[in-house]
Structure formats: structure tokens, C-alpha cells
């Protein structure tokens, strides 16, 4: 029983990162109506950013968030201007199709680039406080992962506030709702697209930083994280950042439970099961609205 409780706690902590990873993807998908399957590679790049800041400058990974997030913001803006800005010009059906293809090509290119630049080795940041745990009864909670969960939650809450209160946040939501109507009211929808993509990439960079400290990164983690994020987005539905975060926690716990029930080698299968069950029973997702 204790082992199971421990697994669930670890699942929750990992699930928080799934939620953060999915929030960026969900924002981009909801606003631009493009599905960036290179999202996991953006997470991977963020992780390397934090890793090198730590390895070369000795910067604490939580402090390096202050550099990785703005860096990712710029990377996102550049990717939008260079690639996805062209994709969004197409009508909606072509747009989604092209975004899948472009994202897939981008994922491969970034993966190859990372192998070339950073080698295929697994890396992780080990800080002085890396081994610290808080024990609650028989359950041990790693401090770093708990801190990561709190940072993830804080970032999601910040994004939520930004979208709810800020002028351009409202413009982004209006564009997501109905871009034609948004344009008629005078919103510069290209700027809303640009901002949404940049924010999505920034969240990916932040998620990557947290992955590099609590877990490990390598050039090939991209697809795995894209997939986790996609499954969370399908489960949550579009439109609610906090709902996405909750769905991330759910997926983390579901994985932990399935690993306990069927053994470690089969823990990934639960994602596919969640995907199929959601499509059949509740295609708009848990927190999405039916169209």
C-alpha cells in the first residue's frame, strides 16, 4: 500500500510537468489552429538551455528559468515568423495538415541538430539540494520535483491571468474563439498568433528546464514529450489552462497506476487507452465545450 501511495505521489509530480508541457501546446493549437508536433523538441531545447547554463556558468536551474523563458519566447517568435506564420495563411483544413507535416519535419531536424551539437548522451542537472526529500509518514517527496510542480502551477496560473486580464491576452482569446470576428473588431490577429506561439514556446522551454533538473534530457526525448502533451490536450479539451494542468496530473497518476498494475514495460500503453476512450466517450475532452 505504501509503495502504491509513493507511486501515486511520484505520478502526480511528473503529471504537473505533463500539464505544463500540454499547456503550451494547447495554447498554440487553440489559437492558431495548428498542431505543432515539434513541441517536444522545443521542450528538449529548453532543457539543454538550462543544462548548459548550469554546466558552463554554474547557474541554478530555477534561476535560469529567468533566462530560458525569454530565450524561448524569442525562439518561438522566430519559428513563427520563419515557418508557422506561412502555415496559418492557409484555410483551416490545409492549415492543420501542413502544420502536422511542417512540425514533423522540424522535429526531425531539431533532433538531428541536437544529436550533432550535444551528442546523444542522457544529461541531467544535479544540484547540491538534488537528493533532498521531505518525508510525510512513509512517503518520500523529492524536494526538486515538488518545487518543479509548484513552479509549473505558478506558470500556468500566470498564463491564466495574462489571458484573462491583459489587453493582448483578451485579443488572443478572441482570436481563438473566432478569428474572423476578431479581425472585424480590429484585432491584429497576426500579432495575436505570434504572441500565442511565442508564449507556447516559452512554456515548452520552462517545462524543459524542469525536466532537466528533476529527470533527464537527451535529443530523443522530444517525441515522447510531444505525445504526453498531445494526450493531455485530447483529455482536457481546449480552452482552459487550469483544466489542462489538472488533466496532466491525471495522466501522471494513471501512468503510475498502470505501471503498478501491469509492470513498468507497459506503462506507456495507458496513454493510448486514454486517447481512445476519450475519443469514443467524450471527444470534446473533459474540460472542453461541445461544439
Amino acid at each position: 500500500m505504501t509503495i502504491l501511495a509513493q507511486q501515486i505521489v511520484l505520478g502526480l509530480l511528473l503529471g504537473g510537468l505533463y500539464g505544463l508541457a500540454a499547456a503550451g501546446l494547447s495554447l498554440v493549437f487553440g489559437v492558431l489552429k495548428v498542431l505543432n508536433v515539434a513541441h517536444g523538441e522545443l521542450i528538449m531545447l529548453g532543457g539543454y538551455g538550462a543544462y548548459w547554463l548550469f554546466a558552463l556558468l554554474g547557474l541554478d536551474p530555477f534561476a535560469s528559468l529567468l533566462l530560458v523563458i525569454p530565450g524561448s519566447l524569442l525562439l518561438g517568435a522566430a519559428l513563427f515568423l520563419a515557418l508557422f506564420g506561412f502555415v496559418v495563411r492557409a484555410p483551416e483544413e490545409t492549415r492543420i495538415k501542413n502544420s502536422l507535416l511542417v512540425g514533423f519535419g522540424l522535429a526531425l531536424a531539431l533532433h538531428a541538430l541536437a544529436v550533432r551539437l550535444f551528442t546523444a548522451d542522457d544529461r541531467s542537472i544535479s544540484t547540491g539540494y538534488g537528493g533532498a526529500v521531505i518525508t510525510v509518514g512513509p512517503i518520500a517527496i523529492p524536494v526538486i520535483r515538488l518545487a518543479s510542480l509548484l513552479v509549473a502551477l505558478a506558470l500556468i496560473a500566470a498564463l491564466h491571468l495574462l489571458l484573462a486580464r491583459w489587453r493582448w491576452g483578451k485579443a488572443i482569446r478572441a482570436t481563438a474563439e473566432d478569428w474572423q470576428a476578431a479581425r472585424l473588431t480590429g484585432i491584429d490577429i497576426r500579432r495575436a498568433y505570434l504572441l500565442a506561439f511565442a508564449f507556447g514556446t516559452a512554456l515548452a522551454g520552462a517545462a524543459g528546464t524542469l525536466v532537466s533538473v528533476g529527470y533527464s534530457i537527451s535529443p530523443s526525448i522530444g517525441l515522447e514529450w510531444t505525445l504526453k502533451a498531445l494526450i493531455v490536450v485530447v483529455l482536457a479539451g481546449l480552452g482552459s489552462m487550469l483544466g489542462t494542468f489538472a488533466a496532466g496530473l491525471f495522466v501522471g497518476v494513471a501512468e503510475a497506476l498502470s505501471a503498478a498494475a501491469f509492470g513498468g514495460p507497459y506503462r506507456e500503453v495507458i496513454g493510448l487507452v486514454i486517447f481512445l476512450v476519450v475519443l469514443v466517450l467524450r471527444p470534446q475532452g473533459l474540460f472542453g465545450r461541445a461544439r
Binding site: V87, V234, E268, L279
Partner: protein, 316 residues
């Protein structure tokens, strides 16, 4: 005779001529290279059916290639005749495809792409975890290994995939798929069942991919069971189809031939760097030249004809 028909005949003629290659040039390096081209043609055509004709982007094509390989390898090593083992591989791949398709095709948008991507990646991880050991043929089979039957099987499968697409393009089924690709709503309004058509396209596409996986399993002496599930196979299929021209009969064939040459050349020169080049090339084709080589040929032909006409106009 239409151009489409001329291309079909030309490609089949070329494949027929390749049947004599083992007699003319019985060199292993030549046959291995052509084998790779033939396997690639099958893989590209199989992706072309679902994505090019039916318009559904499959991002986990490797799942079906891998399932075919896993099933065929297991059965073949256990003593099943290789063609039966490949057929079983095709059947297993199709069964998994229909499971994903039946759920994901009821909704439009990205669900099918997500589902196939998930299937591919999850199978790769799970097979890698459950079967971490390299799969090697038993010593007796290695001793009896001959390249010729593998080569002819690849040739037959490539010809089958070309014939399947040629037949599809001219059939009601194929026309229905194109209608669904162009405008699903309009197709449904004219009484076409989009779901049924997409499922049939998927079944045909993944059966070919599964058979190609079986061929891979029959060809290689040893490989990691998770290798054919890797996303690289999906990307190969996408890139070959797009280089040549998606949704055409001859595009994927041209694309496969060109791609295998390019890949061999670049791999020798830049070991693992070629994937970066291909990734960028692929994005450029999708964004700037979505018709691929086939469209380039048509445009070049039109340009030449206009130029000739202008010259004729100038002289008279």
C-alpha cells in the same frame, strides 16, 4: 493514352526489367541497393494511399511497418512459410489501424494524426521495453540465407503497391477518397460515407505497410525488434512521397528512387547530419512546393510548350 496510364505502364515495365537484374548483375551490393529502393517504393505508396488519396495525415506509419515486421518475424522463425507470415503481418497491422481509425475518423481535424503518432511511439517504447534483446536468425537460417528470394519478393510487393494505387486511382473507391480529401462535407452531402472510405483507405494502406514490414523482417539477419517502429520509417515515407508528389501514382516511385540515392550519398558524406538536411528539405517542399517533382515536371513541360509556341509565333 493519358499521362497517368503511360506512367503506370512505364513503371511496371521498369519493374519487369528489374526481374532480370540478378541474372545480368549478380552482385550483392547492387541487389541490396535495388532491394532498398523497392522496399521504399512500397512504403511510400502505402503512405500515399491514406495521405495522398484519402487526405488523412498518418504520423505513425512506422507502427504498421513495425507490427508487420514483428508478426512476420515471429511466425517465420517459428516455421510458417514466409509469404503466409507476411500476410499475417499485414493483417495484424490492419487490425491495429482499424482500431485507431474507427475511433479517430469519427472526428475531423488532427485526431487521426495524434492517434497514429501515439500508436507508433507507444508501440516503439513498449516493444523496446518488452523485447530488449536483438533478434537474430537461428544459425541454420543464416547458413541458408539467399538474397535472390528477398529481392524477388520485394519486386513483387513494389509492383503490387503500384498496381494497387493505379487500380485505386481509376476506381469509384479512389474517386470517393479524393472527394473526401478535397471537401469532406460536400462528399458526404453527395451520399458518400466519408468514414467508410477513410477506413478502407487505411486498411489498404496499412496492409501494404505491414507486408513491407514483413519483408524487412525476412531480409535482415539481425535487428532490434523496436527498430522498425522508429519514427524514421514514418519520416522516410512522408519525405519520399512529398519529394515525388503526394496523391499521384508516379510521384512516390520517383521520390523513393531519388531519396534512396540521396540518402546513400549523404550518409556516406555526413554520417548523421543528413537527417537535418532532409528535415529542412521536407519543410521547404511542404511550404513552397507541395506538388513535388511531378508538379515541377508538369510546370517545366508547360513552360517549354509556351516557349515553343512563342517562338513559332515569332517566326510566322
Amino acid at each position: 493514352m493519358t499521362t497517368e496510364r503511360a506512367w503506370t505502364l512505364g513503371i511496371l515495365l521498369a519493374l519487369a526489367l528489374l526481374a532480370f537484374l540478378p541474372l545480368v548483375a549478380p552482385r550483392d551490393d547492387v541487389l541490396n541497393f535495388v532491394f532498398l529502393v523497392l522496399l521504399s517504393i512500397t512504403l511510400a505508396q502505402s503512405w500515399n494511399i491514406i495521405a495522398g488519396y484519402a487526405g488523412q495525415v498518418n504520423l505513425g506509419h512506422a507502427a504498421f511497418f513495425g507490427l508487420g515486421a514483428l508478426t512476420a518475424r515471429t511466425l517465420w522463425i517459428a516455421g510458417t512459410p514466409v509469404v503466409a507470415a507476411m500476410a499475417a503481418g499485414a493483417a495484424v497491422a490492419t487490425a491495429f489501424a482499424l482500431l485507431i481509425g474507427a475511433a479517430a475518423f469519427r472526428l475531423r481535424g488532427a485526431y487521426f494524426a495524434i492517434g497514429t503518432l501515439a500508436l507508433g511511439e507507444i508501440l516503439r517504447t513498449t516493444v523496446g521495453n518488452a523485447l530488449p534483446e536483438i533478434s537474430t536468425l537461428p544459425a541454420a537460417s543464416i547458413g541458408a540465407y539467399r538474397l535472390a528470394p528477398r529481392y524477388y519478393l520485394a519486386l513483387a510487393l513494389a509492383a503490387l503497391s503500384v498496381l494497387a494505387v493505379a487500380g485505386l486511382a481509376r476506381s469509384r473507391l479512389g474517386l470517393g477518397m479524393v472527394a473526401v480529401r478535397e471537401d469532406e462535407g460536400a462528399a458526404e452531402a453527395t451520399g458518400v460515407s466519408a468514414l467508410a472510405l477513410k477506413l478502407r483507405a487505411l486498411a489498404l494502406s496499412t496492409a501494404l505497410a505491414g507486408a513491407a514490414g514483413g519483408l524487412f523482417a525476412y531480409y535482415h539477419i539481425s535487428y532490434y525488434p523496436s527498430h522498425p517502429f522508429g519514427p524514421g520509417w514514418t519520416f522516410d515515407a512522408l519525405l519520399m512521397t512529398f519529394i515525388g508528389g503526394v496523391g499521384t501514382l508516379h510521384g512516390p516511385v520517383l521520390g523513393a528512387v531519388l531519396y534512396v540515392f540521396l540518402k546513400e550519398y549523404l550518409t556516406v558524406r555526413w554520417v548523421d547530419f543528413h537527417l537535418l538536411i532532409f528535415g529542412v528539405l521536407f519543410i521547404a517542399i511542404v511550404l513552397l512546393f507541395p506538388g513535388g517533382l511531378v508538379q515541377a515536371l508538369i510546370q517545366a513541360g508547360n513552360g517549354a510548350r509556351r516557349w515553343m509556341a512563342r517562338r513559332r509565333g515569332a517566326t510566322t
